[in-house]
């Protein structure tokens, strides 16, 4: 018997949705961390009951939460209440909520500014964690993508975090600028066949790859064409919204850019547009079928100035050919008066034999398809605006 757990981050808390493998009847728990923004929750592939959550607030900053029992209870993995904040030797202990940019000459390159919206230099300042990506091998190792864009890593279950400063310091950082949502590192992909390879994406800088476990990085944006920047084919400056990979073929990547859907067959060294017959190729999410590396999903959004579906019809588009040829999936989705958005981390697929596809909307609905997108039903309809959706499947 299989079970499914969907982790939903919203503007006002986290929700955990559970079902059996039929994915028809759902239990809903939450809100967890009520009133806080939950940008992302994700479980460890090694220990699925080990969950990490990014809890943030414009008032109170960043909190990292961890659960070791599948979300029943949560704690901050840093210094426990009542424990001293210094070691017996008097050294300050690390803290789970502390993300400090590395400007040491030994491990990073002191980097002072990126570009602001108007092109003026602006100092780097930590704001929040957008994405948490647990290691494929170790439940205590997690990568965190943050705003202002940088990549952090913990190897002690979230107690302390260190920046992988080679990304921010590799040379193009001073040209990065924020997208409308801020200058965020929102996508982290760990290659299951090459453990030293990490791919990240930043709005609005582009995609980057490390082949040495995050020590050194290079931009991988050849083939991207962005009319809204001074040089449309620049090395960096592209507003990449999301990147997805299928674990059986890690060199095959799919990208939803601000405008354009693209694919790469060489781990990002070059990209080709595959928007094909999409009614609009603006959007945020993109994901890949669990068992079919060439089957992909997007949710087209009308435009960069009108963040809702075209004609008020919520349609997921599926390509079974790795792009270019797309079909609209509408069964169970509202086909009139629908003006929600689907944000970049708000789609996920499960690994059951009949692949489940899930996405959440800014209108608070979380839709599930237990049959690869053929039919859809809302698990919940009235949550706060959904920021992220992840799914875990258990046998």
């Amino acid at each position: 018997m299989s079970n499914v757990r969907v982790l939903v981050g919203t503007r006002k808390g986290a929700f955990i949705l559970t079902s059996d493998g039929k994915r028809q009847k759902w239990d809903v728990s939450g809100p967890h961390f009520a009133g806080w923004e939950l940008y992302h929750l994700k479980g460890s592939p090694v220990d699925p009951n080990r969950l990490y959550a990014s809890q943030t607030s414009g008032w109170f900053g960043q909190i990292i939460q961890r659960s070791d029992d599948g979300g029943k209870t949560w704690f901050q993995p840093g210094t426990a209440a009542g424990e001293p904040t210094t070691t017996p030797e008097g050294m300050p202990k690390g803290e789970s909520n502390k993300f400090v940019y590395d400007t040491s000459p030994d491990t990073g390159k002191p980097l002072t500014t990126h570009q602001w919206y108007d092109g003026t230099p602006k100092p780097w300042a930590f704001k929040r964690v957008w994405h948490l990506e647990p290691s494929l091998d170790d439940p205590d190792t997690v990568y965190a993508g943050v705003e202002d864009a940088a990549l952090f890593k913990t190897t002690n279950g979230g107690q302390t975090w260190q920046e992988l400063a080679g990304l921010r310091g590799h040379g193009t950082g001073s040209q990065w600028q924020p997208g409308a949502g801020g200058m965020c590192l929102h996508t982290i992909i760990l290659d299951p066949k090459n453990r030293e390879r990490i791919i990240v994406a930043i709005s609005a800088a582009g995609a980057f790859r490390s082949d040495d476990s995050g020590a050194t990085w290079k931009p991988i944006n050849k083939g991207l064409h962005s009319q809204y920047i001074p040089d449309p084919t620049a090395e960096v400056g592209h507003c990449v919204h999301h990147v997805a990979m299928h674990p059986s073929n890690p060199n095959l990547l799919f990208m939803q850019k601000h405008w354009d859907v693209l694919r790469s067959d060489d781990a990002g060294d070059s990209w080709q547009e595959v928007s094909g017959n999409l009614p609009t190729d603006f959007g945020f999410v993109i994901d890949v079928h669990a068992h079919e590396p060439e089957t992909i999903y997007v949710v087209p959004i009308k435009s960069d100035s009108e963040h809702y579906p075209l004609d008020g019809k919520l349609r997921v588009y599926r390509s079974r050919t790795g792009g270019n040829e797309w079909e609209a999936l509408t069964k169970g989705l509202p086909q009139e008066n629908c003006y929600v958005n689907v944000l970049r981390d708000a789609m996920a697929v499960d690994s059951l034999d009949s692949c489940g596809v899930y996405f959440g909307t800014t209108g608070g609905q979380v839709y599930a398809s237990p049959d690869g997108g053929d039919t859809w039903t809302p698990i919940v309809r009235d949550l706060p605006p959904v920021l992220s959706v992840e799914v875990q499947a258990f046998s």
Partner: protein, 93 residues
């Protein structure tokens, strides 16, 4: 403290901290964060130590938000007769 910070710290109502030395905003917050380490970074930014913009401080009906963090606070605060308020701005939704 604001409700969200009380939830984080696992406390209800007022919080009492005891320490030696002069009673200032800095010394109160230092003692608070020592007693409740999960609050570190939520009231003052981790690195700069600056107050988060949406938080304000009141003592004996006076707004001391923009006073020096090392300015001595009234004796009523030091003795515990009056509370030191950490207030969240009324903003957002």
């Amino acid at each position: 403290m604001p409700a969200h910070l009380r939830t984080l710290a696992g406390v209800k109502g007022d919080v009492t901290v005891e320490f030696d030395g002069e009673v200032t905003r800095r010394s109160i917050l230092d003692a608070l964060e020592k007693q409740y380490p999960m609050l570190r970074g939520t009231i003052r930014e981790h690195v700069s130590g600056e107050r988060r913009p949406f938080l304000r401080f009141f003592a004996c009906n006076e707004d001391v938000t923009h006073e020096s963090p090392d300015a001595p606070l009234p004796q009523e605060i030091a003795s515990g007769a009056e509370p030191f308020y950490i207030i969240g701005a009324i903003a957002g939704g």
